[in-house]
Symmetry: C2
Subunit: 173 residues, 2 copies
DNA sequence: TATTGTTATACTCTATAACTATA
DNA sequence: TATAGTTATAGAGTATAACAATA
């Protein structure tokens, strides 16, 4: 308990060494904001980007199927599709075999905007990694892939799309 | 339109190579959720953790000074301090020289809970990096530190504390 | 009876701005 | 007049649950 200069009985908790968790969380938040800013001129937000991206993959599936893939409440799905449809980026069409269901497809304008959004996203990636050479970036991706973030369901899907916080571990029942 | 297996005219945009930006954003979101879950038994949320952490550093400062350090609206500051005070983790005391101002200090219970919160946070870090050896983790931290995430104001502060999205580039006028 | 999509409603969270008491 | 803190209010976003059409 003897001390020379620092009277603090417990070690200063705020001066903790940087943690991967904290740094990643902070970076992720910043990057998300950057993407939102970049997409604003296109009139969409990151969540719309995520949905457009998924629609480009799964052509002609029902809303329900897409929502399941993205771990999205039917609720939010409707709102998102509404917004994209009002911007003529997406169109609802009758499902061929199930008259309850709708399929959702990109319009040509939607495909074009998606390409532009990808260009913007690549711009963010480039700026973010500007101080890394090719090997360093590859090494970083490798190390990040080794992190255990749980949530291995829905690979390639950003969990933020689903809404706030997943308190009840999976919405589907 | 003839097709053998893949009719896709443009390269599948959704099958883009993994980007550091996307991976970091997804990881950060997951980690944030983990911290929220871990802190729940303590009765606090990540934002309270962030404030308690700051209070442990800056002892006896005014609310305004702390809010400025954390890039926090006076508004949110009041609500946060209210919540912590109702849990007896923090106490408002009159500022010695300015009778308008309040200083905010941790109670012994607050310091104890903060220590416990740090233990939980370390647990998350440990689990997250379980598949990395010491050198790999150090290398990862090094590479992450080289990313250009902008926002170099308010070092060591999680931008999520400030609220939603920083649309107007800095709230202070 | 279950499921797809939708709508209605309540709840939480955040932001804007007005207010008080000091300076 | 400006500032620290507070309160009030409005707005955005999310989740819960009820609903109509179809299976």
């Amino acid at each position: 308990m003897t001390q020379a200069t620092v009277p603090n009985p417990n070690p200063d908790p705020a001066a903790a060494p940087p943690s991967v968790a904290f740094v990643v969380s902070r970076l992720g938040f910043a990057v998300g904001g950057q993407l939102a800013d970049a997409l604003k001129p296109l009139g969409i937000e990151p969540r719309h980007f995520g949905l457009l991206r998924a629609l480009a993959m799964t052509k002609g599936q029902s809303q329900k199927a897409i929502a399941t893939t993205l771990n999205l409440h039917p609720n939010r799905m409707v709102a998102l599709v509404d917004e994209l449809e009002s911007k003529k980026l997406v169109r609802r069409r009758p499902h061929p075999s199930d008259r309850r269901a709708h399929t959702v497809v990109l319009t040509p304008a939607g495909e074009q905007l998606l390409q532009e959004a990808f260009r913007l996203a690549i711009g963010i990636e480039t700026a973010l990694c500007a101080d890394l050479d090719r090997d360093e970036r590859q090494q970083l991706l490798h190390l990040l892939s080794k992190l255990r973030a749980g949530d291995t369901d829905h690979p390639g899907v950003h969990p933020g799309l689903a809404g706030r916080r997943d308190t009840s571990r999976g919405m589907n029942q």
